[in-house]
C-alpha cells in the first residue's frame, strides 16, 4: 500500500517537476538553459546526504537490538545513496563544463561529495566482499556510524583545504541564493519528487531483501523438519 503510494507519488512528482523545470522556471540570466540541471543536481545531493544519515541511523538501531529490518534498511539506503551521489557527480560536471570551462573544481561542496561517495563505496564493497561471515553486517554498521561522525570534520577539513587552493569560481550557497520565487518553487517541487523517488527505491530494495530472507528461512524450516523426522 505504502509502496504503491510512493511509486505513483514519485512518478507524478517527477512529471510535475519536469514540467516546472522546463515551463515554469525562468531561464537564468548568466548561465542560460544549462542552469536547469541545477534542479536535478541539488535534489540529488540532498537525497545522497539524507541517505548517509539514514544509513547511520539504521546502523545504530541494528547495533542496538540486532534488528534484521534495520540492517536491510541500512543496506538499501547505502545502495540508493550511492546512486544519488553518483548522479550528483555526473550532473555537476555536465553543468560545470559549459559554464566554467572546466569539468571539475576542488570546491568544498564537490570535494565533500566525492569523499562521501568514496565512503559509500567502501561500505558497499565491505558488504559485497566481506565474506560469508554474518558479522559483516555489524562491521558495515560500525562503518556507517563512523562515516556520519566524520561528516562534520570532513566538511571542516574541506573548507580548510580551500584556504590553500583558491576556488576557480565561487558557488552559490545551496538553494538559498535563489531570488526568483519561480526558481525556488521549482527547486522545492523537484526536491520533493526526488526524495519520494529515493524513498520508493529504498522500499523496493528492502522488499527484495525481505524476500531473499524469506527464501532462506523457508529452506531452514524445511531442513529442520527433515532432521526431526529422521
Amino acid at each position: 500500500m505504502l509502496d504503491a503510494l510512493l511509486g505513483w507519488g514519485s512518478g507524478a512528482g517527477m512529471l510535475v517537476a519536469l514540467w516546472m523545470i522546463f515551463m515554469v522556471a525562468p531561464t537564468e540570466a548568466q548561465m542560460g538553459n544549462v542552469q536547469r540541471i541545477f534542479y536535478v543536481h541539488v535534489p540529488c545531493a540532498w537525497a545522497a546526504f539524507l541517505g548517509f544519515f539514514a544509513v547511520a541511523g539504521a546502523s545504530a538501531v541494528f547495533l542496538w537490538n540486532g534488528s534484521r529490518r534495520a540492517d536491510r534498511l541500512a543496506q538499501a539506503w547505502a545502495e540508493v545513496g550511492v546512486l544519488f551521489c553518483t548522479l550528483v557527480l555526473i550532473t555537476g560536471p555536465i553543468w560545470a563544463r559549459p559554464i566554467w570551462g572546466v569539468w571539475w573544481t576542488w570546491d568544498p561542496r564537490l570535494t565533500m561529495t566525492v569523499i562521501l561517495w568514496a565512503i559509500y563505496a567502501g561500505y558497499l564493497l565491505l558488504r559485497a566482499f566481506g565474506g560469508p561471515d554474518e558479522a559483516v553486517a555489524r562491521w558495515a554498521a560500525v562503518l556507517g556510524i563512523v562515516g556520519v561522525l566524520d561528516v562534520p570534520v570532513i566538511h571542516y577539513a574541506v573548507r580548510l583545504l580551500q584556504g590553500i587552493h583558491p576556488a576557480v569560481i565561487t558557488t552559490r550557497e545551496g538553494g538559498s541564493g535563489l531570488v526568483d520565487p519561480d526558481m525556488r518553487h521549482t527547486l522545492y517541487v523537484a526536491s520533493i519528487a526526488m526524495l519520494l523517488f529515493a524513498f520508493w527505491l529504498v522500499r523496493l530494495r528492502v522488499r527484495l531483501a525481505e524476500v531473499e530472507d524469506g527464501v532462506v528461512a523457508a529452506r531452514h524450516a524445511l531442513e529442520a523438519s527433515e532432521g526431526a523426522a529422521a
Partner: protein, 215 residues
Amino acid sequence: MAAPVVVARGLRREYAGVPVLVAVDLEVAAGDCVVLLGSNGAGKTTLLRVLATLLRPSGGALQLFGHDAARRPAAVRAQLGWVGHETGCYPDLTGRENLRFHARLHAVDDARIAECLAWSGLDGAADRPLRTYSRGMAQRLALARALLPRPGLLLLDEPFTGLDADASARLVGLLATVRAEGTAIVMSTHDPARVDELSPRTATLARGRLREGRA
C-alpha cells in the same frame, strides 16, 4: 547441589545462511566429562565456540554457571577455559611470557604460573619461545594457559590432533587431574578411544542436533 555448569536448550546457529546447529540441548554438571563426536563439518567447533561465548547463538538459551550467557557474558567468561585448534599463544614469546601475559589479564599471581608450568611439565622449556616447542608441548602450554584462572568449565576442540600416543596419554592424564578437581570438561575429538580412560559421556552431533551416545 550447585547449579549445573552448562544448560543449553534449543541452540541454533547459522553460517553463511546455512544452519549448522539446529536445536542443540546439552546439560553438563561439575566434574562431568563430555566428548562430542561427529563427522567433519557437523558443527562440533561451532557448538564449542557457542559454549565458550565466542559465538552468539541465533536462537535458543544458554546458561553457564547459572547465569544467562547472553545477558551476563562478563560474569561467565571469567570461569571459562578455551583450548581451540590452535594454542592461543604467541609463537615469538616464551612459554613463561605467554602465561605471564594471560595471568595479568586474569589477575592471577606468579605462584599460579609456576604451578601451571610445573604441572604441565614445561618447567624446562618455559624460557624458550613457543616457536621451538613440539606439538605436544604447545598443547600442554595451551592447556596451562586455559587453566591459569582455575576455570569451572574447560572446552577443548580436537586437542589430540597431531599428538603421538605418548603425548596423547600425557594430555589425558592432565585432563584426568583437572576433572578430579571438579572442573567440567567438554571436548570434541575424532578418536574417542584416546579418552576412554576418562570414561566420559559421549554425544554425537549430526544434522544440527545432539544425541547421546555414539551414532
